[in-house]
Each structure stands twice: as structure tokens, then as C-alpha cells.
């Protein structure tokens, strides 16, 4: 059986494309046969003329015989397809307008989907760019409540690396901002460092372009501090000089040696590529790591590892849990609450582990993208229906001369496929350009304090495959019904040139009705999704934060990590703060541990119920509230005396006061601060209540409020404590004045100045991109739907010319004619609107549930949207409908 198949296949391959030669052989053979037959008939006594006719009669139609013989040659389906494709190209070439519109519509539909899929693929499926990514896992801690954490203490990292049998290549990573002086005496610049375990490069396949990479020897506590430069810092800081290796560089005031430059392709475990890498112990010496390395509560490194061959995730989970599980602490204590009870591994062969949660987050976006394709397909179906009207006679002729209906349908579908293929190519191109440009812009806008995103997101073969599937599915979605419709014509009527019976209403198809409704409904959903996000963006921008961030700038002099500030720098910062306060144009100034919108330190306090609650906090100098625009509702501001650290006082925000001391005045109350460490809890007295402020991420819930402590002398000495300065509305350039102050005061220290609003803008960035993308997609969808709607009304007018002509001949006016054409269409538009609104509400809920807590659109907004769409749809329908008014009845009726 197999032999037979193989032989037949070989024969087909041999005969593929040789039809002409083979047909000639069959013709020759038949000619011989006819000759012999004629000769035998003559022998039997027939006249030569009779014999010739008899032979021809017996042999029948030579064309049919030839066709039937040809079935054994080559691959008939393939060759039919090829012939159809060539024929399709010729046919399509004759209607360039149709092709242009169809390809662009398809290009938009496919492009949106391909672009979306490219992003999903890049983050969810593309292997992360390290060596052997297949069995890479990310390590997560499991706490007593079943919650997962991603950060480990260095001690845990070392213990796992030393004892784990189920995983190998345990790598630790943490990124931190630092200040570096590349040559001594040069001003420090801010940079990002990747703090890594010694095996980081070897485990992930990172090699040196120059010098060497870090090795486990560099991670010994007594090893001389060494750094490996990224290709970028080598370029910007050392002009790619080979002498960079061996150079002495100062990181946060500590001398380190450059031992090498990493290959430019090396990205590491995190797509944010730092300026240089350093071993974790060396980083601790340079004061870069938060806290010390031997503190088991100091959890800050991310851990990744490779699952050993033959080991299941569950086995590794079990083994590692045994290694890291901590003994139970005192019930109710902080240590007990944060205790690690186990470990959980997550596949990390792609950027984001594709878990169900992520899939859900993607769903609303996928819906939006799919809708665009659905609208595009509806559009194409309309175009094809319009075309079929013009081609019915051609089809009738082809069916009449013996082509089977299936064959003609196949040919029409091939034409659709050609359009889909061209549209998909255009779509892929659009997706590639858009995604590349957009992602590059987006990445460039991310501040480089934590590294530079080194991803180049391009469509992979996954995307191409996805596109092909979509294209083929689309062909059936938009091409099948029109093809069947085109070939179902009544042959006789068509050849005789009769479209419809005189005066009879043309039967409307459900398919066409559905196209109108689908387009409108899809559009409503797209536009409402866009409106939801755009409005959310505006809402966030307009959120009353309780602060007035305009005219406020933050300024940080010198770059070092908290807890490692030299006395000289601390003194320079203090002088700077004093000088800023006296600078003309500065209305008020203060220092704070964290500027609003930048970081959200939180702590635990004991509430009125005796339970432990998390609350945000800040350490500030007197005058902070007037700088950021918060009001003091009750009590007093901090005084200079409070900063001495002798008086343990605090100011609470009104929202914190409300749950801490419900019903009583908070002033004078004592607040218990629950220690995160094993040290004893401390107590502070509340001296003031500040107006509520929203300081965190725009969508964060900080209903628990804030607690403010006076910055102590130690805070001011050890911490960065940026200066916040409020300028008057008339002072033109506050940043410039502050820079001047810094240059005069400490020319060798870098100054980081940024408007407070810049931080807010950064938070808004993902929204802006998301809202812009969805708005553009919505606009594209609307444009497609308008073209489609306009096309379908045009089609209706053409199909019903006679009907309309009769009405006009019988005295129908403009109004009646328009109603005749538009009545049904507009009714379908309204059905589409209603369906769309229902779906839009669902989509809004989906977004709010799965992606971002944005409020759903209100009824007024939805109705407004519907009215807008109705108006636009009416406009789109009216243009072709006016054609109906120009129908000259006598001319049309004479054609009957």
C-alpha cells in the first residue's frame, strides 16, 4: 500500500507541470485510435465518410477525454489552485479600486491583530534572550497566607544555590541606581547597576566583548571589587577605548576596577539592561544593596534557576520549600506574618510566564483587535457582494458551459485568498513598523535609572503563522457567502438579462443585514473601549490628589545610596537646602524622604481595633505641607525642635485619623508603631492632622492614609532627602535657578532636578499609550464601518434600481425614495447599536475587572456614543442614497 502510494506520488511529481506535452500524447493516441476505427469500419463495408463520422461519434468529446486522463497527472487540486490564482490575479487586475480598498481594509484588520499578537508573543512566548532558556524558572516565596513574593535575602540565595539538588544555575539579580565617577575628579553621573551572583554570566551565557565577565571568584567576600561595563556605558563613558579595562572607577565613593565589557547582545534575566554589573558582595561593600547581606529579613534579590532534567516543578517546589522554610515566630508578630513557609517555581522561559491571569488580562485587548478584523471582513463581504452583482452574468456563462458550481466557488475563494494574502502582507508590514516605533518610543520614555530596555520587538514566525491562520479564516468569513451567492443565480434569467421581475421587491438576504448590524455593533464596542480608556486617562490626570504639584520641583544634590552619605555631602546638601529657601522666586521649600508620586514606603501601626495595619509614611522637614499644597486641618506643623529627635511626634492625614481614632480628636493621641524587626514597638504622639492627599500611583488605593514624621538629624545626614521647592506662578524657570545655586555651591556634584508633575506624567504614560492605541484602533474601525455602510447602501440602491424607478414613475418624492432605500438600513443600524451597547457594557466590565480599575462608561456617555454613531451612519448612508434620487425612471424601465 505504501509502495503504491509512493509510486503514484512519484508519477504525479514527474508529470507535474507537463500537462501540455502529456495532452499532446493523449491527442496523438486518440488520433491513432480514430484512424484504426475508421479503417476497421471501412473493412466492414462502410463508405469512408460514414466510417469517419462513426468513429468520431464513438470517441465522443475529445476535450472531456483529455480532461479525464489529466486527472492522473500532477496534483490536480494544486494545479487548479495555481490556475485559479493566475486567473484571479488577472481578474483582480481589472478592478484596481476594488483591490486597493479591499487590501487596505484587510491590511488594517490583520495589522491590528498582528501587532497585538507580536506584543503578546514577544512577552509571553518568545524565549528570553539567554542561553538555554527552556528550563529556566523564577523562584517565588510562599508566605503563611499563601501569598507569593519575588524577593529573597542573600542568605536564602546562597543556601538554595549550595543545597538545591532539583535545580542548577541559581542566579541572583537586583538592579539599583548609583552614582559613578568614571575618572577621578569628573562629576559623578547617575547610573544603574545590576548586582549579580558570581555565576550570573556563565549560567546565562553572557560573554565578554573585551576583558572578562564576572565569575564566582568575584562574589567572594574578600574579592577586590570588580565591575563589567555594558556596551552602552563603554560607548558613552569610554568612547569604546580598549584601555577602559583595568580602569579605576568610583561607585558611590568606593573604588572598583573595570574588568571587562559585556557583549552588546547580552541582556541578562531582566530586559532592563544596567550600565554595569557587579557582584552582590562587592555591591554591599559599596553600600549599594539595601541593608546588609547577612540580614535574613533583608529580602531584595530576584532568583532564577534551571530545573534539572527529569525533575518536575512539583518535586523542585517540595525540595526548595524544605530549604527556605523558616521556623514559626511569635503569633501575630511581624516576623510571623512575613515568614516564608515554602517556595514555588514559575516557568520563566519567556518574559512573562503565560498563566491564566495574564490570559485574562489580554482578553479585552484581544476582543478589540478581533472586532477590527470582524469589521474589516464585513467590509470585504460587502465589497464582494457588490462585485458579485456585476459578475453574475460572467458566472452564469461559466456555469452554462459546464463548470461545476463547486469549481467556480473555489475559483472565487481563490480570488478572496489573494486579497487576504496581499492584505496580510500589508498588515504584517504595518504591524512591524508600528510596534517597532511605538515600543522604541515607549522604552525611551522609561527613565534609565534602572537600566535601558534593550528589546527590539519584531513579528516572529509565530506572528506570521497566526496571521496566516487569520487570513484563511477571514477568507471563509468574508468570501464564502458572497461566492455561494454569486453562483446561485438562476441561469436562464441571468443570460436573458433579467435581474428581477418587474416591480417585485428584491429579497433581502439575512447575511447582508447581519453585515450592517455587525459593523455597527463592533464599532460601538471599539469606540466605547477607546472612550473608557481616554476618559480614565483624563480622570487620572484630573484626580484631585489634594496636592498642588504645579510649580513644584524636586532637587537632589549628589548621588548616593541611603545610609552611605559622606559627612561632606550631607553638609553640602544642608547648605543647598538653606540656599534654595533663600533663592528669589522660591515661595517655600522643604526636604522629604520621598517626593510625592515617586516612592511609597509603608509601615505597620496598631489601629483602634488592636490589629496591625499597613499605612504609608514619609519623613519631612517643617514647611513640607505648604510646599506640596496640603493644608493642616488641626494641630500644628512640625517645628525645628521636633527634628531633634527628642520629641516623638507625628502628623496624620485626615483619612488615617478617621480609622485610627474614629469619633475622637486625634490630636494628643498616642500611635503605636509596630516594628518590622525584632526590636520593640515605639510610640509617637499626634500633633497635627493634614488634609488628605493622594500620593501614590494614580490608581492605588491609599485610603488608609499617611503618617508623617519629622525628619531627624540622622535622616538628614544619612538619607538623600531631596529638596522640594515651590516657585511662584510668575517665576519662569525654577529648575534653572536651582541649578545655578548648585553650580555655585558644589560644582563637582551632579544635581538632579525634575518638576513634580514629570513623575505624574510618567505614571500616565502606559495609559497614554494604551488610550492612544485603542483610540487609533477605534478610529480605524469607525472608518472601515463607514466605508462598509456606505457600500451596502450603494449596493441596495443599485440592486433596486427598477424598484425605485417604478416608485419614481408612479410619483414618489424625494422623501419616499430615501425612505425606500434607507428605512431598512437604518433599522439595522439601530439593532447594531443596541447589540453594540450591550457588548460595550460587557467590555467595560471586562476591562475594569481584569486590566485596570477604571470606571465603566455611564449611561449618558453610552447614549451619546450611540447618537454620534447614528448620526455618522446616517451621513454615510445618505451619500450613496442620493444616487437613488438621480435614477431616471424611463431609462431604467426601458432596459427591462
Amino acid at each position: 500500500m505504501f509502495m503504491l502510494r509512493a509510486r503514484a506520488l512519484a508519477y504525479r511529481v514527474r508529470t507535474l507541470g507537463r500537462h501540455t506535452a502529456l495532452e499532446r500524447e493523449v491527442d496523438d493516441e486518440l488520433a491513432f485510435h480514430r484512424e484504426m476505427l475508421t479503417r476497421d469500419l471501412v473493412h466492414a463495408g462502410a463508405t469512408p465518410e460514414e466510417a469517419r463520422l462513426g468513429a468520431r461519434r464513438r470517441l465522443g468529446n475529445p476535450l472531456v477525454l483529455r480532461e479525464r486522463s489529466a486527472d492522473a497527472w500532477g496534483f490536480p487540486a494544486l494545479e487548479d489552485f495555481w490556475r485559479d490564482a493566475r486567473f484571479g490575479v488577472r481578474t483582480l487586475g481589472r478592478s484596481p479600486t476594488f483591490v486597493a480598498i479591499a487590501v487596505v481594509a484587510m491590511g488594517i484588520g490583520i495589522g491590528v491583530n498582528a501587532g497585538f499578537f507580536t506584543l503578546v508573543d514577544a512577552f509571553l512566548w518568545q524565549p528570553i534572550p539567554v542561553a538555554r532558556p527552556e528550563r529556566l524558572v523564577k523562584l517565588l516565596t510562599v508566605d503563611a497566607h499563601g501569598g507569593n513574593g519575588v524577593r529573597f535575602s542573600y542568605a536564602d540565595a546562597e543556601r538554595i544555590a549550595a543545597h538545591a539538588r532539583t535545580v542548577s544555575d541559581v542566579v541572583a539579580y537586583d538592579a539599583e541606581p548609583v552614582g559613578v565617577e568614571l575618572t577621578s575628579g569628573a562629576p559623578a553621573r547617575s547610573a544603574s547597576v545590576g548586582l549579580v551572583s558570581g555565576n550570573y554570566f556563565s549560567a546565562l551565557g553572557g560573554t565578554a566583548g573585551l576583558g572578562r565577565v564576572l565569575s564566582p571568584a568575584d562574589a567572594r567576600s574578600d574579592a577586590p571589587p570588580a565591575i563589567v561595563l555594558s556596551d552602552r556605558l563603554w560607548t558613552t563613558g569610554f568612547a569604546r577605548a580598549p584601555t577602559a579595562v583595568g580602569r579605576d572607577v568610583i561607585v558611590n565613593g568606593v573604588h572598583v576596577t573595570v574588568v571587562g565589557v559585556a557583549q552588546p547582545e547580552f541582556i541578562g534575566i531582566n530586559p532592563l539592561v544596567p550600565d554595569f554589573w557587579m557582584a552582590l558582595p562587592a555591591g554591599s561593600v559599596a553600600g549599594i544593596t539595601p541593608g546588609t547581606l547577612d540580614d535574613p529579613m533583608n529580602r531584595f534579590v530576584f532568583l532564577h534557576a534551571r530545573l534539572r532534567p527529569g525533575v518536575t516543578m512539583a518535586q523542585a517546589d517540595a525540595e526548595l520549600s524544605g530549604i527556605v522554610a523558616e521556623p514559626a515566630g511569635a503569633p501575630g508578630s511581624m516576623a510571623e506574618q512575613q515568614r516564608i513557609v515554602g517556595m514555588h517555581l514559575q516557568p520563566n522561559d519567556s518574559m512573562i510566564p503565560p498563566d491564566p491571569q495574564i490570559a485574562l488580562m489580554i482578553a479585552p485587548a484581544l476582543l478589540v483587535a478581533t472586532l477590527v478584523l470582524v469589521i474589516a471582513c464585513a467590509n470585504l463581504a460587502i465589497l464582494l457582494l457588490a462585485r458579485s452583482l456585476a459578475r453574475r452574468r460572467e458566472m452564469a456563462v461559466r456555469l452554462a458551459i459546464g463548470a461545476s458550481r463547486g469549481r467556480v466557488v473555489r475559483q472565487l475563494l481563490t480570488e478572496s485568498l489573494l486579497v487576504a494574502v496581499a492584505g496580510s502582507a500589508l498588515g504584517l508590514l504595518l504591524a512591524d513598523v508600528t510596534v517597532r516605533v511605538a515600543s522604541r518610543t515607549f522604552f525611551a520614555a522609561v527613565p534609565d535609572t534602572f537600566g535601558v530596555i534593550a528589546l527590539s520587538i519584531r513579528p516572529s514566525w509565530h506572528t506570521v503563522a497566526y496571521t496566516i491562520v487569520l487570513a484563511v479564516a477571514s477568507v471563509f468569513a468574508f468570501g464564502l457567502v458572497p461566492a455561494l451567492r454569486t453562483t446561485s443565480v438562476a441561469l436562464g434569467a441571468e443570460l436573458k438579462g433579467e435581474d428581477t421581475l418587474f416591480g417585485m421587491r428584491v429579497r433581502r438576504s439575512r447575511f447582508r443585514d447581519a453585515l450592517v448590524a455587525v459593523q455597527v455593533a463592533g464599532c460601538v464596542v471599539l469606540l466605547s473601549a477607546a472612550a473608557t480608556l481616554v476618559r480614565a486617562m483624563h480622570d487620572f490626570a484630573a484626580t484631585d490628589t489634594g496636592l498642588s504639584p504645579a510649580h513644584v520641583v524636586t532637587a537632589t544634590l549628589g548621588l548616593t545610596r541611603e545610609g552611605h552619605v559622606s559627612q561632606a555631602l550631607a553638609a553640602a546638601r544642608a547648605r543647598f537646602a538653606t540656599r534654595v529657601a533663600a533663592t528669589p522666586g522660591v515661595v517655600a521649600s522643604a526636604r522629604a524622604m520621598t517626593a510625592p508620586f515617586t516612592a511609597w514606603p509603608w509601615m505597620h501601626v496598631a489601629g483602634a481595633d488592636g490589629g496591625v495595619h499597613g499605612v504609608f509614611y514619609n519623613r519631612i522637614t517643617p514647611g513640607y505641607f505648604s510646599v506640596v499644597g496640603q493644608r493642616l486641618l488641626r494641630g500644628r506643623d512640625f517645628a525645628a525642635a521636633d527634628t531633634m529627635g527628642s520629641a516623638r511626634v507625628a502628623i496624620v492625614s485626615e483619612s488615617a485619623a478617621r480609622w485610627l481614632w474614629p469619633g475622637t480628636t486625634p490630636i494628643g493621641q498616642t500611635l503605636r508603631l509596630v516594628s518590622d524587626q525584632d526590636s520593640a514597638d515605639t510610640f509617637v504622639r499626634v500633633v497635627g492632622v493634614a488634609s488628605p492627599a493622594h500620593n501614590g500611583m494614580l490608581w492605588d488605593n491609599d485610603a488608609n492614609g499617611y503618617i508623617y514624621f519629622p525628619a531627624t538629624g540622622r535622616d538628614l545626614a544619612d538619607r538623600t532627602m531631596p529638596v522640594l521647592a515651590r516657585g511662584s506662578a510668575t517665576s519662569p524657570d525654577l529648575s534653572r535657578s536651582l541649578r545655578d545655586v548648585a553650580t555655585q555651591l558644589a560644582p563637582d556634584l551632579p544635581l538632579d532636578v525634575a518638576p513634580l508633575l514629570a513623575e505624574r506624567r510618567l505614571q500616565m504614560m502606559p495609559f497614554r499609550y494604551g488610550a492612544t492605541a485603542v483610540a487609533v484602533i477605534g478610529a480605524l474601525g469607525l472608518a472601515l464601518a463607514l466605508v462598509g455602510l456606505s457600500g451596502i447602501v450603494g449596493l441596495a440602491v443599485r440592486q433596486r434600481r427598477r424598484d425605485i424607478a417604478v416608485h419614481v414613475a408612479m410619483g414618489a418624492g424625494t422623501r419616499e425614495v430615501l425612505r425606500l432605500v434607507l428605512d431598512r438600513e437604518m433599522r439595522l443600524v439601530i439593532i447594531g447599536l443596541v447589540v453594540g451597547l450591550v457588548l460595550a457594557v460587557g467590555e467595560g466590565r471586562l476591562i475594569a475587572h481584569l486590566v485596570l480599575p477604571v470606571p465603566a462608561l455611564g449611561a449618558a456617555m453610552l447614549v451619546g456614543l450611540a447618537l454620534l454613531l447614528l448620526a455618522v451612519a446616517a451621513l454615510a448612508a445618505l451619500v450613496p442614497a442620493r444616487l437613488a434620487l438621480r435614477i431616471a425612471p424611463m431609462q431604467v424601465l426601458r432596459q427591462e
Binding site: 503514484a8 493516441e29 491513432f32 485510435h33 484504426m36 479525464r68 492522473a72
Partner: protein, 111 residues
């Protein structure tokens, strides 16, 4: 001469193979042979014969080449291949069984 009968469906390929097992022949010759040997009962339609020849050639059961006839005319001669001989064996034994089975049934119902 008895009345012409229809070919039993599915037997044409077998008949061609059987005919060619006696020697090489051209298409016309095959048709003539079957017609004559069946006592002029079976007539092979040319419309079926040539497509069938293409089919079994594609399956590799027969091979063909162009040769001159004794009367010096160019004609395509078909020849049975080893695979074709094997196929003929399979088909004729299966045909025998079927015919015997049918014959038994016919006898039983007649009796």
C-alpha cells in the same frame, strides 16, 4: 452476436491488466481484444479506456512507450510491469471469489 452488455463496474482495470499479461498492445488493440475475447459482448468505451490507462500507469502497473505498428504507424504501446502482474493476481483471485459467491447465491435462489 448477442446483445452488448455493460462492463461490471470496477473490472475495467483488471481486464486491461489481463489483456496486457498476454503481451504489449496499444489502446485500440486492448479495446479490440476485450471486445473479441468476450464474444463481442463487452464493449470498452474509449472514454473510460484511456483515463483508466492513465490511472494504472500512474499507479505503476503498466508502462508505455511509443513504437511503430507493423503498418508503420506511430502508436503508444502498453506493457505490464512486475507490480501490475502482482496486482492482476490480487484482483483476479478477489474477482473469482466474488463471482463464486454471487453464483452460489443465484443458484440457491433459483433452486
Amino acid at each position: 452476436m448477442s446483445a452488448p452488455a455493460e462492463l461490471v463496474p470496477g473490472t475495467l482495470e483488471m481486464l486491461i491488466l489481463k489483456t496486457l499479461s498476454l503481451g504489449t498492445l496499444h489502446g485500440y488493440g486492448i479495446a479490440q481484444h476485450i471486445h473479441r475475447l468476450s464474444g463481442e459482448v463487452l464493449t470498452v468505451e474509449e472514454g473510460s479506456l484511456y483515463p483508466a490507462l492513465q490511472r494504472i500507469q500512474a499507479k505503476g502497473w503498466v508502462a508505455s512507450e511509443w513504437k511503430l505498428t507493423p503498418t508503420k504507424r506511430r502508436a503508444r504501446y502498453y506493457r505490464l510491469t512486475a507490480a501490475g502482474r502482482k496486482q492482476l493476481g490480487l484482483e483476479s483471485s478477489s474477482f473469482q471469489r466474488t463471482m463464486q459467491a454471487i453464483a452460489r447465491i443465484m443458484r440457491a435462489t433459483e433452486g
